[in-house]
């Protein structure tokens, strides 16, 4: 089961999918694309990776264990 966390005012909003469920994968992929259109950045933790090991991704990876969407950063 993969989990996507989108940081927001509630802490985060979760989208989950199973690689075996085509519909869930499609919905998660759509959610991913919607966040990308908002210029959010996605960091994925691949299966077996430590929580401290995440990589930036630009397209949905259904094999990822966890994807976290964060906001673009700015200076003042």
């Amino acid at each position: 089961m993969g989990t996507m966390r989108i940081l927001d005012s509630t802490g985060d909003t979760v989208v989950q999918w199973s690689e075996l469920d085509d519909r869930a994968v499609l919905e998660a992929s759509r959610a991913f694309d919607a966040q990308r259109k908002l210029r959010r950045m996605a960091f994925a933790r691949l299966k077996g990776a430590a929580p401290t090991e995440s990589v930036k991704i630009s397209s949905f990876d259904p094999s990822a264990e966890e994807i976290i969407f964060v906001r673009p950063i700015v200076g003042g």
């Binding site: 927001d8 005012s9 802490g11 976290i68 964060v70 950063i73």
Partner: protein, 199 residues
């Protein structure tokens, strides 16, 4: 120029913040989360809210009415709830290594190593940075619309970017060199980074 309006402290919050009610000006009756309190500001309130990182004494605006009516619409930028703060803290703790987790639990701060040096997260708008050569800076980097996020989500945001894209972090950071007092916009000097092209 307008000064920061007089305010009344409603509640002491964590991380040194205060929930206050503005008592005068166009925003009278609005509650605001003060991140730091000092002498009255010298810039219009609206300008300060739009540009918190440019401030010596920044604050966040929480546009929740101090006396909400039953028909008041829900607005963006509402202060995160206690459950949101807890949820964000759980996510942050899950992403930290053992040393970082212990440090954050004990002091509310933790450090993130990068190829450029070590960044300390824990004080919003004032991130400690010690380069590999020992130069010390205060950095200001925030996620866009940071006021919408629980504070621990801000640290999640920054730690993920620092781990994966430290160059980008240093390129956008506003900085103050602690020894000389010199300050400027990104990139942080002395790291061999070129100024980013403005869009």
């Amino acid at each position: 120029m307008a000064e920061l309006p007089r305010f009344k402290v409603l509640e002491e919050l964590d991380h040194g913040r205060q929930l206050v009610e503005l008592l005068e000006g166009e925003l009278a009756g609005t509650t605001v989360v003060l991140v730091a309190v000092s002498t009255p500001g010298l810039r219009p309130l609206e300008e300060l809210v739009a540009d918190p990182c440019g401030l010596e004494h920044p604050f966040w605006l929480d546009p929740r009415p101090a006396r909400p009516t039953s028909r008041a619409p829900r607005r963006r930028g509402l202060a995160p709830s206690a459950s949101a703060e807890r949820r964000a803290r759980e996510l942050l703790m899950a992403l930290l290594d053992d040393d970082q987790r212990e440090s954050f639990s004990n002091s509310g701060r933790f450090t993130v190593p990068t190829p450029y040096g070590t960044v300390e997260l824990g004080e919003l708008f004032n991130l400690g940075f010690t380069t590999t050569l020992g130069e010390r800076f205060s950095l200001c980097v925030v996620p866009t619309s940071a006021a919408e996020l629980p504070i621990c989500d801000v640290w999640v945001n920054l730690v993920l970017v620092l781990r994966a894209e430290p160059k980008r972090f240093m390129e956008v950071a506003n900085w103050r060199h602690l020894a000389s007092g010199q300050r400027g916009e990104g990139p942080v000097p002395g790291l061999g980074l070129s100024p980013r092209r403005r869009r």
